[in-house]
């Protein structure tokens, strides 16, 4: 053992130099402002990793959560990039002021979405990058190499950007957390206040790294 205690920061630096490819711990989370979602995650969508939202049922409220995420990030003035692989996002349901921090990328092909995500995740100006592949044909997604997701994960670890992937079925093999939206809203939901709808979300969490599946809300 050394005669003098080694500072923790020096040890961290040494480890980073010896193992430059080792994953770094997340530096925080981006809170969504939705209690049911944040409770399933470590207080929000973690920075420096991939989080996946899976739409297991139609009209499950995931887009509503996206609206809440935009509102939360708007309050903190963080820049958000939305890579819309199927060009499905409709800003008409949100006020102009609520999307003033949003960079919306309307893709024409899945390949464009991969390339765009790779660029945005590496840009230090973004607080969060959302990749929406929900309406992309599953055969196209399955054809995509898993290395794409690992590449995004490595980039996110490097830039400490929070990456949220919205999909129709579990797709991201290296997602830190996965939330499954399982319950459809009834027709009456179209007239209800949004905070009340968010309180009724049916979300089930899956923590990928530990394999612990949490209780459904």
């Amino acid at each position: 053992m050394a005669d003098h205690p080694v500072p923790l920061t020096a040890l961290r630096r040494l480890l980073a130099e010896r193992f430059p490819t080792a994953p770094r711990p997340a530096e925080g989370v981006v809170a969504t402002g939705v209690a049911a979602v944040d409770a399933q995650l470590p207080g929000g969508i973690p920075r420096g990793g991939l989080t996946e939202f899976v739409a297991a049922a139609p009209s499950n409220g995931m887009q509503l959560v996206l609206g809440a995420v935009l509102a939360a990030t708007r309050d903190s003035q963080a820049r958000v990039g939305l890579i819309d692989a199927a060009d499905a996002f409709d800003p008409a349901g949100l006020a102009d002021a609520a999307v003033g921090h949003l960079v919306w990328i309307r893709c024409r092909a899945l390949e464009d979405a991969w390339r765009t995500a790779d660029l945005l995740v590496r840009d230090p100006n973004y607080g969060m990058v959302i990749l929406d592949v929900r309406d992309v044909e599953s055969r196209l997604l399955k054809r995509a190499a898993a290395t794409i997701w690992y590449r995004l994960q490595r980039a996110a670890e490097e830039s400490q950007v929070a990456v949220l992937v919205q999909s129709a079925a579990p797709t991201v093999p290296c997602a830190r957390s996965r939330l499954v939206f399982k319950e459809s809203f009834p027709l009456a939901a179209l007239t209800q206040a949004r905070p009340a709808l968010l309180a009724q979300l049916g979300v089930e969490g899956q923590r990928q790294r530990t394999g612990r599946i949490q209780e459904a809300v």
């Binding site: 739409a55 049922a57 139609p58 009209s59 499950n60 409220g61 995931m62 887009q63 509503l64 996206l66 609206g67 708007r74 309050d75 003035q77 963080a78 820049r79 060009d87 499905a88 996002f89 409709d90 800003p91 008409a92 349901g93 949100l94 006020a95 102009d96 002021a97 609520a98 999307v99 003033g100 921090h101 949003l102 960079v103 919306w104 990328i105 309307r106 893709c107 024409r108 464009d112 390339r115 765009t116 660029l119 945005l120 840009d123 230090p124 100006n125 929900r134 309406d135 459809s184 809203f185 009834p186 027709l187 939901a189 179209l190 007239t191 209800q192 206040a193 949004r194 709808l197």
Partner: protein, 484 residues
């Protein structure tokens, strides 16, 4: 003290720095018309191959079959002259553009020992801009010019007369008649001429003889005339051959930007607006303006913006000319605010946007803004602001209900009606009996100007779950999207 920076074979160097194919190839510059044209400058590879100044084009090509010959290009020389001037301004604020490829620097007030140490750096800087130069430093501009001519590649003259004495008379650029006369007098060096009585030379050659003697003695009668700093930052070039690929164009644009940013930086300015114009064969033009969030004088940043744009451009015909103008702007020098939500790296942000636009297409990326119309799905994408403004509560009631995810374009649907309301729907990937409906909501607009629109919307809930928007137009039924 004065310094002279000279770019030998300047007309050819000016061309070589703007044409990638000339960089390492044997090249020669021809002066004169038609068959009388003779080689005026040769590149080092051409000289090694045996091409010499004074040869005709045919003789030069016989010596070196791969020789590339070019006529002089005043535009390229002006561009290289501007680069030379801009680099020299970094060493002295008083610089005279004495002749093409030759600048005189007034070193008054400069620490000469420091300047001596800076000379290699100055040459390296010019080399990076494509100009190989030699430099001379002496007590007056004329001697400094002679020193530059003799320099390999630098010459510092402290004792003028011993330096001038062995130099050939040809340095004074006498006419052939003058040279012949001086030769008959046995005067072949500057030292010999300076020792000859001044009046005797003036008597034989007139005022011109007096001038030659004064120059041989190292006399310099006039002050230098400093060049004014540029007020417009623009560059243009007609390409030697029409180009249909990106690389030659980018090569020229990179050189332009290097010079423009050098000049901007010299004036403590930057630019946040660039105008690019590509002149196409057939007289057409492709023009584009680029706006950046913050003024910058970083050539690499500006180059990437242009490169990303050009990667997406397809022109109908090859490019025959290029123009680039940078609009100067004062660079921002501000302290970061405690609550500042600006960009961490503004150039990187807009560079990423440009690269994304190159992938998905211009107009497919930006911050959404609703258009001033009731037409459905009327949204525009604008350039994201550099700083996210603080959130403010908007007017109007709190929005209710789920958000819509659109199918673009709407999916054609087959719909069964019962009592005037949809009861069954079949569309791509979605089909089944309808358990509940809301509607219809009818709207129309733009009837006063085409294309007018009219629609009837139904919100439906499928029996197996899922909320969708059904659309009825004169063209039929469509599924416009799903609520989520």
């Amino acid at each position: 003290m004065f310094a002279v920076v000279e770019a030998p074979d300047f007309p050819l160097q000016a061309l070589r720095r703007l044409e990638a194919e000339l960089a390492d190839a044997p090249a020669a510059l021809l002066r004169g018309e038609g068959r009388r044209a003779v080689v005026a400058c040769v590149s080092p590879p051409a000289a090694q191959a045996g091409v010499a100044i004074g040869m005709t084009a045919a003789q030069a090509l016989a010596e070196c079959p791969g020789l590339i010959v070019r006529p002089p290009s005043p535009a390229a020389e002006a561009e290289a002259g501007a680069v030379l001037l801009a680099v020299c301004w970094q060493a002295s604020p008083r610089v005279e553009a004495t002749a093409p490829g030759l600048c005189t620097l007034d070193l008054a007030g400069r620490d000469l020992a420091q300047f001596r140490r800076e000379l290699p750096g100055l040459r390296a800087h010019l080399q990076a801009h494509g100009l190989t130069c030699r430099m001379g430093v002496a007590a007056n501009p004329l001697v400094a010019r002679f020193a530059a001519h003799e320099a390999r590649p630098e010459r510092w003259v402290d004792a003028v007369r011993p330096f001038l004495a062995p130099l050939p008379i040809a340095l004074l650029e006498p006419t052939p008649e003058e040279e012949a006369l001086l030769s008959t007098l046995g005067l072949s060096t500057l030292g010999a001429l300076a020792k000859f009585p001044r009046e005797a030379v003036a008597r034989r050659l007139g005022p011109r003889g007096d001038e030659l003697w004064a120059r041989a003695a190292g006399e310099w009668p006039r002050p230098i005339q400093p060049a004014p700093p540029p007020t417009r930052f623009a560059a243009a070039r007609d390409l030697e051959h029409a180009v249909a690929t990106l690389e030659p164009l980018l090569f020229v644009l990179r050189r332009f930007l290097e010079r423009l940013t050098l000049e901007l930086g010299q004036a403590s300015l930057g630019t946040n607006r660039l105008r690019l114009c590509l002149r196409l064969e057939g007289g057409k033009e492709h023009g584009r303006e680029f706006c950046l969030p913050d003024p910058t004088a970083d050539a690499a940043v500006l180059f990437r913006v242009i490169e990303n744009h050009l990667a997406t451009v397809r022109t109908d015909s090859p490019v025959v000319g290029v123009e680039l103008e940078a609009f100067p702007s004062r660079r921002l020098e501000r302290q970061e605010g405690l609550f500042d939500a600006g960009l961490r790296d503004p150039p990187a942000f807009y560079e990423t946007l440009a690269r994304v636009a190159a992938i998905v297409g211009t107009g497919q990326v930006g911050t959404p803004r609703r258009a001033d119309t009731h037409r459905p799905d009327a949204v525009a994408l604008v350039t994201p602001p550099a700083a996210v403004p603080p959130a403010t509560a908007g007017p109007g009631a709190e929005p209710r209900g789920l958000l819509l995810r659109r199918f673009r374009p709407p999916r054609p649907a087959l719909v069964e009606l019962r009592h005037g309301a949809p009861s069954f729907v079949q569309a791509e990937a979605i089909a089944g009996p309808i358990a509940g409906t809301r509607g219809p909501w009818r709207s129309s607009g733009d009837w006063w100007q085409p294309p007018a629109w009219a629609r009837e919307e139904w919100d439906i809930e499928l029996a197996r779950g899922g909320l969708y928007r059904l659309l009825h137009t004169p063209d039929g039924w469509f599924l416009e999207g799903g609520y989520d």
